[in-house]
Symmetry: C2
Subunit: 226 residues, 2 copies
């Protein structure tokens, strides 16, 4: 049971909620200042479970390191698996296990940032891989410079329409696993059109970590060069 | 923004949360009594976005109707699309759009049940298709006789390990889109072993709504016969 999700608009006291979001935002701003003081950039990756966040991160790290020094904060409800996968690429990784919570918040990320920077490590780029959930993580600003939403081809092109609140505040919409397009009824046009209707400024990239197609576009969207 | 997800263990007052869950459970029991009084059975489907809940429902309805009379409560953050898809099969469907909330609760389902039963309609089997989210819906008992968790092959076989709290209280674990097994590194053994470690009594079925493989097992798990 996700025993932290004591939510529901009619249920949780509105003042408690507002105070919670405003505290989270203030600490998010502090995270951003901390990251900027260290000369780094913070990227928050949000998607449903199984959209390929970790696989895309592995490919991204392989492209950018050692020229770009990368750290990753991994958010999961349980297990250290994703951090282990990232460490195998040579990047620094800190695992947060939320023990039930459906999202990362600015407090958890703040602690993880201090761990990442231990020993005065230099990092250029820090990724946060949020808990696999297309809904709740979107409500929690973590201090990121860039918020990226991933939807994989097997999930279907109706996801922007069905989860508009998630797309509203995103900077980048990455359509992942595009090598699978021949096998699924996924319309890039529909997904892109709906995402732009909700958020006209959103940057859309199509990428496959498996075939490497679109990796240059993805890395460009992160503000980096291969 | 999912503005209802004002959660976080350290953040939301524990008493508020406990009162919320206990009220939800009481109304869930009321839903169950209502459904039983009408001679029907209630099934709650929980999965991440894009695991194929609606497609599996379409196939299930095609197999069982008109012998079994079926109603569906569709939960989505936005859009009426899923209810429209279900209505096209001839089943009754009521759409709940949560407008941001990451899960259905017993209040929303209670109202939807009354709509489904309008005109004293007879229904044998009622499905609830929860909001696409593998985390939060697991915390909200809706009165269901059967709770089914779906994970599709493209999502990966590590999902039970990563979302143990979701699997703990489930009756059925359906591995969906098994026609895609040749194209993905998905281990049925790993997924089944981990699900049984968390919940030894869980019933596991492997199914493809596309090829119909495993449909008889799935329908049997629902306590029905083809």
């Amino acid at each position: 049971m996700c025993d932290t999700c004591g939510c529901g608009e009619r249920q949780v006291d509105v003042e408690v909620k507002e105070s919670l979001f405003s505290k989270n935002r203030a600490l998010g701003e502090e995270n951003r200042r901390l990251v900027e003081a260290k000369g780094a950039k913070l990227v928050n990756l949000i998607s449903a479970p199984g959209s390929g966040k970790t696989t895309l991160l592995e490919a991204t790290i392989t492209h950018l390191m050692p020229k770009v020094s990368i750290g990753v904060i991994e958010g999961d409800i349980e297990t250290e698996r994703d951090a282990q996968r990232i460490r195998a690429t040579g990047a620094r990784a800190v695992q947060i296990t939320t023990g039930g919570a459906c999202h990362l918040d600015a407090v958890l990320v703040h602690k993880a940032l201090h761990t990442l920077f231990e020993g005065d490590s230099h990092l250029d780029l820090i990724f946060i891989e949020n808990v696999g959930n297309l809904v709740c993580p979107a409500s929690f600003y973590l201090g990121e410079h860039l918020r990226c939403i991933l939807v994989s081809v097997p999930e279907g092109s109706d996801k922007p329409s069905k989860y508009p609140t998630t797309f509203k505040d995103a900077d980048v919409f990455a359509i992942t696993k595009i090598d699978l397009l021949p096998y699924f009824d996924f319309s890039i046009d529909e997904a892109a059109r709906e995402a732009r209707r909700i958020n006209p400024g959103i940057q859309i990239v199509e990428v496959s970590a498996k075939t490497q197609e679109g990796m240059a576009d993805w890395i460009h969207a992160l503000g980096m060069k291969i």
